[in-house]
Symmetry: C2
Amino acid sequence: MALGERKEAILKIIVNEYIAGAMPIASKDIAYNYNLKVSPATVRNDVAYLEEQDYVMRPHPSAGTMPTDKAYRHYVETLSWDVELPPIEQDLLYELLREAKEETEQWLKLAAVLLARFVRNVAVITLPKAPQCRFKRLDLVALQDFVALLILVLYEARVRQKILSFNKRITQDDLTMLANKLNSVYAGMTNSEILAKKTEFSPEERQVTACVVDTMATEDKLEHGKPFLEGLHLMLSQPEFAQNPRMLSLLELLEEGDWLGNIPRPELDKRELRIIIGKENPDEALQDLSLIIAEYGIPDKARGIVGVVGPKRMDYARAISSVNCLSSLLTESVAEYI
Amino acid sequence: MALGERKEAILKIIVNEYIAGAMPIASKDIAYNYNLKVSPATVRNDVAYLEEQDYVMRPHPSAGTMPTDKAYRHYVETLSWDVELPPIEQDLLYELLREAKEETEQWLKLAAVLLARFVRNVAVITLPKAPQCRFKRLDLVALQDFVALLILVLYEARVRQKILSFNKRITQDDLTMLANKLNSVYAGMTNSEILAKKTEFSPEERQVTACVVDTMATEDKLEHGKPFLEGLHLMLSQPEFAQNPRMLSLLELLEEGDWLGNIPRPELDKRELRIIIGKENPDEALQDLSLIIAEYGIPDKARGIVGVVGPKRMDYARAISSVNCLSSLLTESVAEYI
DNA sequence: TTTAGCAGTCACAGAAGGAGAGTGCTAAAT
DNA sequence: ATTTAGCACTCTCCTTCTGTGACTGCTAAA
């Protein structure tokens, strides 16, 4: 299955050139610009072989060649995945993120914006999430005579809020006592443990509990935390999106759909970084794109996804190193407040 | 300045037809399809006058006419702004929104999604916000030995969270006591009142106070709450966005920029609904579009913006009635938990 | 003031042609 | 067996040209 040294080199040139210019590559250019010591005719022979093996294709018979999915796959396989961003850029990222560190959710959004700018494509980051959420604490704030705000804090510093309407007038003091009681009973519990707990409760306590259980159940059902999606305009300004229809269906998918759910998840424990190229993607609207995704966080505690979405013709080395770098930064930060 | 009855009618037909079809309208079609009892030649004379007065223009000399900004302006001025959505649709909106009512922020997002679908354009809704925020309550949750989560609740049920790192080990009990103290001292205060308050404080208390002050100052500085922007793909699938460049600069503006800041704000007290057409917009990238925005909420307490962004050629009647309806629904809901 | 009639203008679509890019093939050279 | 030069061939792309159809603007009569 080996291609031979020169064919390998030529394939790499084709992929690199296409990534850089989004135009089919001519054999002449390969031969002359890369100092291969062979004539264009020889290159043509090799390229013909690559075409036969489905590594490259032509938009029309008398055009140059462009890589197929198989070529990209081959390309990333032979790429060193351990590349790192230049230290200067790593520091830059680190500095930019450090300032906003105490902002929790906003922090992740900022991270997504920065990642998007770094790779000039769409960045996606989900909130970290435990497989089973655990009750940390709740607080009740009186809003009106019959209405209160429930603030539910789960482990991993996740905060959820709900409005509650009671059937009787209730003061902030009542609410505080109620919160204290539930806090001492439910501390550290999972949802099923809370459900199993049988304690003597007042109607209000039962109502709050129901709301907590409900909220936690919703959390547990979600496969991912809320995704931050940034840099759409960066990706869509690439030449492959010159005609609209493509762009629109994509926009719709990314904006509305739960496309992340369909994507095979990389596994954190294995330090895995997953690359999904074109047709490898289960989602049809994504089959012209490549995804690079990694997990961050702490296994069994809190895991989120960080990734890049872009045309197949993307700078894989840069995307990989950026995702890796961000994944480390995010993991670090999650560890700090888990 | 009056146009005369027939010219008025013809102008209205042109706007309506162009809204429906996005194509220049021919005088023949106007005369025959609308039963005007005059010949196309007469219509042509009138249209020539309208063109002279800058109400209509032609993409090229031998084409039909399409409305100018001035025509749209005239059109909406003569439109009845008090139109309401059909009751069935109002009920639908109401029902769809009722289910998720306790979710606060998510609720507004859903409202934006629904509005976008109703008008098949971009919907924007900002979180309600008071001119001066007031401290309602805070809670401190121990995350690690030196790290705590500060949950700050402001009036209007706005919740903000921050991570705090202390210099000494601190337990949940310490934190609870600290929170109780600050809660009793700061209840109901604005930021400047908190700053003016001179009480004997421990270093930790001072640190938390500083964080609270900082967060509230940031809130006060923002002119709008976080905007929810939905339905981009709906708007961008309209024919006016067939070529990309236009679409991209727009996408960038909406995604990144603080375009809302530049827009003259409608005033709630006057039950105002503001319509901004094309060139009337200060933002250049929005000058092909129309905005319809209203405020919702309660004057001096909590106000947010609800609006629609779309091509100038949009269904104004529907957009206006939808925004009106949503503005009422949102105002109602804000009143419930202020 | 309105209308019919008609010449005139312009966009658009399709055909035709030329230029250029790049290949595939063949036959000779290494 | 591999590499190379040379050349005919193919196909896209751009430009030009032309005919058609859609509308108008104007004029002169109703």
